[in-house]
């Protein structure tokens, strides 16, 4: 256990990068998910088709493969991304597909009467969506979003393959130095767990906040 204490700053730095990647990817994934969900519900046939294909491809391929394609694969076409940029892009695209499904379910669970009532008061389709439907849908979406969010936190360990020294890679580096497995992996398991518990706590708070709708 001494080796862990000794190297804790190093691991904490790794945890910081893990958090950073999670938060950034989640932010962009959230935007992508919202756009995709709305285009699947309200879009014309072409938009709907594109959105459906995107979700199907992303959900049907391993995230590790997506990350490696973005980082190592795109180089062959002259696109050279830095490790962090590649991680943000790959994970945002990945999480966007899952978030869009969460939103689609949430939007469709808002009773039709709500839209009808909004239109009857003279709002346009767009206004009804923005003012009436989405605020309610976000509240419904919080618990499944929390799931997605925590899944995302754990998926960041996959970017260790593209030279990003996040929590997983930090542990691997230490294992390579000390040749002992268990202490370091137990330590990072605990750190992942603490982070996801913290996220759950924050999301619960947000859910309570939003229950005014």
């Amino acid at each position: 256990m001494d080796v862990v204490i000794e190297n804790l700053p190093f691991l904490v730095k790794g945890a910081y990068y893990t958090l950073l990647i999670t938060v950034v990817s989640m932010f962009f994934g959230f935007l992508i998910g919202l756009i995709v969900a709305i285009s699947r519900i309200k879009g014309n046939r072409l938009l709907r088709g594109i959105a459906r294909t995107y979700v199907s491809i992303i959900r049907g391929t391993p995230p590790l493969v997506q990350i490696v394609i973005v980082y190592y694969g795109l180089v062959d076409y002259g696109i050279e991304l830095g490790p962090f940029t590649a991680a943000y892009i790959a994970l945002s695209i990945n999480i966007g597909a899952y978030v869009s499904e969460v939103f689609r379910g949430a939007i469709q669970s808002i009773p039709k009467g709500q839209t009808e009532a909004a239109l009857a008061t003279g709002m346009t389709e767009r206004q009804a969506m923005r003012r009436i439907i989405i605020p309610q849908a976000i509240r419904y979406a919080i618990p499944p979003l929390g799931n997605t969010f925590i899944g995302m936190l754990k998926e960041t360990s996959l970017v260790s393959v593209i030279a990003v020294t996040e929590l997983m890679r930090s542990a691997q580096l230490l294992v390579a130095q000390y040749y002992v497995y268990m202490p370091f992996y137990l330590a990072i398991a605990a750190m992942y767990w603490i982070m996801s518990t913290f996220f759950t706590f924050v999301l619960n708070k947000i859910e309570k906040r939003l229950s005014v709708y």
């Binding site: 180089v75 050279e80 030279a163 691997q172 580096l173 390579a176 130095q177 040749y179």
Partner: protein, 269 residues
Amino acid sequence: MKKLTRFIPMLLIASFILSACGQNASEDEGKTALQQIQDKGEITVGIMGTYAPYNFLNEDKEYDGFDVDIAKELANRLGVEANFVAQDFSGLIPGLETGKFDILVSQVTITDERKEQIDFTEPYITNRVKVIVREDNEDIQSVEDFVGKTIGVGLGTNDEAYLRNELLPQVGEFQINTYDDVITTLKDLDAGRIDATINNVYALKPVIEENGYDVKAVGDPIKEDQAGVAVKKGNTELVEALNDALEEMKEDGTYKEIYMKWFDEEPTE
């Protein structure tokens, strides 16, 4: 009834833990590793599998290379079959210690640090390590020029330990990016995401030829590394048997034959 339902999961967990403990007690107790290997008729060899020309998957989808030929020849002389298992370099030594592999023949450089963890045979190859940069790079001529640059290296390799523990304090700050194999390291060097890497000259030839990377080796060799066959600590009979086999190979010319086959030059001893 309620007591019983609470008791069953506990029973399950307890039995699971106990069965996990029981698995370690093998029936091979009292036999040396060498005897176990010869009883089984096969030796499990750990390799990276992505490190041409030492160990890689050839066109027939079989493991091939200098290490692989040496390992096959060693197995042959012990009277067993060689069974190859590929894994990231950083997992090889831990895998050896947990008994996943009997030996490692994967350019494991002999260092004092590693000697505390595992046993080595006599060296079977000496590699000259050089600085590798892109063809168009003129500002890195030696390790002194690493300051402020990003250097790529294989995770858990002896080169990584050298960069981190010897070079960093010596020349000043630079960033180290770690990769799981030589191919991805070179790909990132070629893409310009790292400024340089260090590796031995033999290892680079096939990868560069295969992919047409514009990279070059610069300056004099930084160091000369000797690689040996790695064996779990304490398996002395196995080390001795392997040493005898290596000695024989060197005397009857088999070793030289394998060396010439892969590197087109005479072994330097």
